[in-house]
Symmetry: C2
DNA sequence: AGATTAGTAAAGCATTTACTTGACTGTCCT
DNA sequence: AGGACAGTCAAGTAAATGCTTTACTAATCT
């Protein structure tokens, strides 16, 4: 949990780009070559390579080159870190609301009708 | 689910910045004025205002101004959208792995020791 | 009334980003 | 061997980003 902040930083930064998010989405359905990833995208192969490099640097994706084709696969742990951060924020917020509700209910019981 | 993509886009973009993420983190522990949000941050108040505006535009935060102080609070639905997207990716990936495992186990049973 | 406080708006600036194109390197197919 | 294929590297560019400073407004305190 020490360098977790750096992981989160890189992951969120990588996911901020819609192209990269669509690549992650595609990879969740199975590994793919860079060429395959580029297929549906309206940009040059070189641009896609750059996105893949960004994703790899963030830990969201890993890849391996065999022959002349580089196969990319999703690395779910970085994705889990993102998920966990968002969930933590939400549940902390929720817990606070619950405490607030309890407190109000309690003071209403001992001190009813006070404005 | 139609304009959900736009929501996700704005939310991830907003969360890509570490300062904004720390603001969200702070707000998960309860509402705060812009001044309070700025307190621990190494930048001018004007800069923090800009971050708050970005967060508000993304739907992650809402705010209300009473008197001269603007109070910000977390808006958990946008955060939930982020959480859900990441979870969807991960579970899709996991489901694919499971199917793969089943398939391999099955073919090993009917076709053992094949190279 | 006058001074401080909280926030806003606008303009400017350095850096980063998301591309492009062009040249190049290996690998695979006939 | 020769050509197409998959990817890489480098340089350049236009736009976006994260600040700053200055000047301002409106609310609150003394």
């Amino acid at each position: 949990m020490v360098n977790n902040a750096a992981v989160l930083d890189r992951a969120f930064h990588a996911l901020a780009d819609p192209t990269r998010r669509s690549i992650v989405d595609r990879l969740s359905r199975g590994p793919a070559s860079v060429k395959e990833l580029a297929e549906p995208l309206p940009m040059s192969l070189a641009a896609v390579v750059q996105h893949v490099q960004a994703l790899e640097g963030s830990g969201l994706v890993s890849s391996e080159k065999v022959g002349r084709v580089r196969t990319c696969r999703l690395e779910p742990s970085a994705l889990a870190a993102v998920e966990r951060w968002a969930a933590d924020c939400r549940t902390t917020w929720q817990a606070r609301l619950d405490r607030l509700g309890d407190h109000l209910a309690e003071s209403a019981k001992t001190n009813p009708k006070k404005k």
